[in-house]
Assembly symmetry: C2
DNA sequence: GTTATAATTGAAAAAGATTTTCAATAAGGT
DNA sequence: ACCTTATTGAAAATCTTTTTCAATTATAAC
């Protein structure tokens, strides 16, 4: 995956590549944990000091529409964004340091079928997040 | 489950039973779908016209702390609340009418073990929501 | 039943998050 | 280099949620 693929995708949908979008995109591409708009704002301003918070919101919206980033939901709040996974990936979050890992979750089909039969629902989509402690937070290193 | 069990539980933790709390509790106990604080406010004011929105927030907070209601997360927003399930239950939501159904999801342990081994994480908790169409919305009745 | 006391209430204000408006700017095709 | 039009940032507006505070009221003690 080339590191400018996100910008290419933005451009392919008719967007112009600006300094502001470059900064926000770089922050999101390299984030190890989910970031709120304000956190993105603070990080991106190191590269584009003139950047406005509104532009961060607008750029995040575009990246989300393209499926490049996803919203991460916590008990405490749901404003954080993280790069999206490919295909049927789900999120595993460290409760201590916030680090996010994506994992495959294809073996859920049996569950969906069972629940669909039990409830009469047609299951269309699902949404799974796991929480725990990452190796470093666990072992102290 | 007696219909005033929620009030009993509130009282057991030192809370006083007021008209406002009665109204909010009744709304949440009988809701078929997740409601936002403002929706609870509107519904509860039919019983307690004097009710303030702040009190709704405060009562929802108490009910959530007691584990009687849970926050429901949607793409569009995460302010809605619904009665909580017992034990390891998860949510199934109808995308069309919003109806919520709780189902058991005990067969996820294998998945957790696999992901834990793969990532080095110690999995502590999880969180699963399914989306689909309920029987009535599907069959047109 | 009356009283005392401490939790609870609603209104208003404050705080936070997000969206809208709008004139100035600048990207990218020509 | 020019033109068109998307994009930008500041300010204001909108929503949601929390805090503050004086008045009210549930509950326990008498």
């Amino acid at each position: 995956m080339p590191h400018d693929s996100w910008l290419d995708q933005l451009q392919a949908t008719g967007c112009r590549i600006t300094g502001a979008r470059r900064a926000v995109t770089e922050v999101m591409q390299s984030a190890e944990r989910a970031l709120t708009p304000v956190e993105v704002y603070d990080a991106a301003r190191k590269r584009a000091p003139h950047l406005g918070l509104v532009t961060v919101y607008r750029t995040l919206e575009k990246l989300e529409a393209l499926g490049l980033i996803q919203r991460v939901h916590h008990e405490q709040g749901c404003q954080a964004f993280l790069r999206a996974g490919v295909g049927h990936q789900h999120l595993l979050l460290c409760e201590r340091c916030g680090r996010a890992v994506l994992f495959d979750g294809d073996d859920l089909d049996a569950l969906f079928e069972r629940v669909g039969k039990q409830t009469g629902f047609e299951i269309k989509s699902h949404w799974l997040q796991l929480y725990g402690l990452c190796q470093e937070c666990r072992t102290g290193f």
